[in-house]
Symmetry: C2
Subunit: 527 residues, 2 copies
């Protein structure tokens, strides 16, 4: 067995000495062996010092070298084989198919960023050539490229033990940008984390990357994660988790002598808008698809459809009937951790007890630690008076808000907080209503989708997995897709540098073969 | 006379009722007529409500319409003629040539962003076409563009009454992005602000832009500016000023229920690095050019060379002699405000009294309110022990830190805070030393320049006027040049939208003729 309960600090793989963390069998709540030693302040100091020392040599590696390094991480993860899948299923309670899919996604993200590096467009290379004869003053030669911010702290997510954790999207995009990474493993899946951490560490060695390029710490106390964000060598933070956790990190980062960006993906209820025409044509069909999305992965997606806004009428009745039928047949599902199960159960109970809320249906009850799906209903007028109903119930629960018409639906949208996604179900007859709502939806959500649900988050160039606060800490960014690399970059301008001192991205001969903006115009590599 | 002491709230131009602000003749300290009425909380409320109401219609204007609007502002500013120049000279104490140049720069910025709009590259349009046959799951059609953040608060700067104030870089880039702007005028130049504000208001009307696209408030009390940043309808802040002022706004923005980005350009001492070879070849010449840069505009540039790091030797002696000779001949110069003059005088006196600092030379003393240039010297070892010597003296004062060799110079750089610029003076023989220092300089500064000084800030595509904290609040951005528009944007992803509902930037037929990333590859408009 490869899992030893050890953390990774550069090339040193050894047990931490400050407290212990145990994995937990999500289905039974029983602690799993071995114990994982927690990081001490000295361990944190060492990881940050190594990351700082690694930064300059790591960012000076070529685009191709970093691309191959990311691919080597993907290969090493693949090489972990069934041990990874089994441990991850055990720790997360997620079914094997989902975990295998998530592993594929994790490797896919690493390979996407290898492609981003080979393309080089993320450098935003620009050249404004000198104009020595310009009047009244000559223009100097000016060139610009993006450089990495510095070492990045990544916090593993409970709900994506692979794709948003040790070698997940935050780590992949930060490493691609040229930033060393210090990961604080999520305590919900320490065994999974150690396995993936070992894979990354192997790739660091086999690719000849500097020692401090990657470290992985377990933390038995909250203070270690807080100290990581406060460390002056850390220049940005990636986080996926609760609103409370994210805002706590934002506060620490803002209070530093040098404030740093926090990219926290926090809470979202992802409104689904059911328009009149679509409901009339296929209300029942949408109801079934909705329940499938709602209960996927026990509803533990950031993009889970936690809110439905629907126009009243026969179509909505058909939607509700079909949803009820599908929901009562939905088995209870193991949740990620006992803590998440408990919070979900409490959240559902509070909504159920709410005076203006009716229960549409509940899923099957299950053994202990299983989450029972639930669907509620409230009028738009009552929803407007109850902002507490906007709070995320992390799990397979949702609220249908019934609206008299599209105008009332717009009023409900206007009162919503920032969201990761907004989904519209429409037919051609609904286009007018949808069109007038789009500007408002653009202000509320990072992704707008039609006739689908947000639970599938494609890893692509045009993906935005991010949105206005509080869905994320910084709505100017995405944590999924190739644009995620931009979170860890800043521009530097070079004025009148001799060609020999310019970075390759900006040399006259364009040795990297980049697209560049020359005098503001996009110019092909051969141009 | 066009100056009436009136603020501008949408189409309403009228005197504020809460307190009074007076312009001051910078050369004499005498108050200028008329009085400017300060904004009340109700005025602020009205300006923010109008900006919010204007946001959706304003951002829906076409790229060409917004480009013409920016050009109309430039034309209106040009049409203000000599009244603007004379009032600006009076309020700022800046010479006519500088103010005329700054007016040209201000109009140039507006026209640059008109070009940015016509190019459309800032939208970062991306298309990942659907892959219906992909296994195991089909890929949906995904498209992405940038949208504006929402209404922006802009704080006028004392040191650029035109180029960083009412219609300056922050306003131009925010308006270009599609964000309505509420300006809080700087109390140092209210007359200049009103004139320019009227020019913008005329352009809003003649271009048919929504009423709330632009407002201009005077504030007799600090609380109005603070309330502007705290207003929930404001989604970003642009500021140029002191470190104290900038960090105060950052705190307010971070404490909002919905935190927002603050782009504050604050304090920088802009190290100038004099290498051994360059000093030997042309120490005296560099000394003269340095003093010219130091004393330009009474030293009141954000990029003023407030720190010189130089390798000891005969070349440095020649530099110091030439600098001394040039400095003692430098006339005292009127400073922007009595407050700035007083702070400068105190800052210089504190350095002069510092135990480890020697005075190299002082410029000519002048009448009251004139700043006297000053140059000091300290050893690298002593500088390292005195972090207080890194504090900006806003004005024509600088400190030469003498270093034994390039290694000691690197140690000094390592201990510096974030800077807007770093300038290297080198000859071919210095390339090796310069090359090894570049990675460190990239971490410390937003712009690196060779054989020049940072005081000229070109308005261009490859310019970065921004840098690591505390030179700016957010080192991922620039406040000068075409990239400044990125501060006021966020990406939105559109999944499976019918072509009829897509924004023009993302329609199949590419009606805007944009370069777009298709499947991650940069693709020409005809491609």
């Amino acid at each position: 067995m490869t899992i030893q309960g050890e953390q990774i600090i550069g090339h040193a793989i050894a047990k931490g000495s400050q407290g212990e963390v145990f994995g937990v069998d999500a289905a039974t709540g029983q602690a799993l062996q071995p114990a994982f030693g927690g990081a001490s302040p000295a361990d944190l100091e060492r990881a940050c010092a190594l990351a700082e020392a690694a930064f300059d040599p790591y960012r000076e590696t070529s685009l191709e070298e970093r691309a191959r390094f990311l691919e080597a991480i993907a290969d090493e993860i693949s090489g972990l084989g069934d041990e990874l899948i089994e441990r991850c299923c055990l720790e997360s309670g997620l079914p094997r198919g989902r975990v295998e899919g998530e592993r594929g996604r994790t490797m896919g993200q690493l390979r996407l960023f290898a492609g981003v590096l080979r393309d080089g467009g993320y450098l935003d290379a620009r050249i404004d050539p000198a104009l020595p004869d310009r009047q009244p003053l000559p223009r100097p030669d000016l060139r610009l490229r993006n450089v990495p911010l510095g070492p990045v702290a990544v916090f593993g997510a409970s709900n994506f033990p692979l794709a948003f954790s040790v070698a997940g999207g935050d780590t992949a995009s930060a490493l691609a940008a040229g930033c060393p990474v210090v990961v604080k493993a999520h305590s919900a899946h320490p065994g999974t984390s150690e396995l993936v951490g070992r894979a990354v560490a192997k790739a660091v060695q086999s690719s000849g990357m500097p020692e401090g390029t990657f470290s992985l710490l377990f933390a038995a106390e909250r203070s270690i994660g807080e100290a990581l964000v406060a460390d002056p060598r850390i220049k940005a933070v990636g986080f996926t988790g609760s609103r409370g956790g994210g805002t706590a990190l934002m506060k620490i980062a803002a209070a530093r002598p040098e404030p740093i960006p926090v990219y926290a993906e926090m809470s979202s209820i992802n409104p689904v808008l059911l328009f009149g025409g679509a409901l009339r044509e296929r209300g029942a069909e949408i109801g079934r698809a909705f329940v499938a999305s709602l209960t996927l992965g026990a509803g533990q997606f950031c993009t889970n459809p936690g809110l439905v806004l629907a126009i009243e009428g026969e179509g909505l009745d058909a939607f509700l009937s079909a949803a009820e039928e599908a929901l009562v047949a939905s088995p209870a599902a193991v949740m990620l951790t006992p803590g998440i199960h408990s919070a979900y159960t409490k959240g559902v109970a509070a909504v159920e007890a709410h005076g203006s809320v009716a229960t549409v249906a509940k899923g099957q009850a299950g053994e202990t630690l299983r989450g029972q799906a639930a669907l509620f209903q409230v009028s738009a007028a009552d929803f407007a008076k109850a902002p507490e109903l906007q709070e995320e119930m992390f799990g397979a629960a949702s609220i249908v808000v019934t609206c008299r018409d599209a105008a009332e639906m717009a009023e409900v949208v206007r009162a919503l907080e920032g969201q990761l996604t907004a989904a519209l179900h429409i037919v051609a007859a609904d286009h007018g209503d949808a069109r007038s709502l789009l500007p408002l939806l653009e202000r509320k959500a990072g992704r707008i989708l039609v006739n689908g649900f947000g639970t599938g988050v494609e890893v692509a160039h045009a993906m935005v997995h991010g949105g206005p606060y509080p869905s994320t800490a910084d709505g100017r960014s995405t944590s999924v897709g190739s644009k995620a690399i931009e979170r860890f970059l800043r521009p530097v301008s070079y004025q009148s540098l001799p060609d020999a001192l310019l970075p390759d991205a900006l040399k006259d001969a364009n040795p990297l073969g980049l697209w560049r903006r020359v005098d503001g115009r996009m110019t092909a590599p051969q141009g």
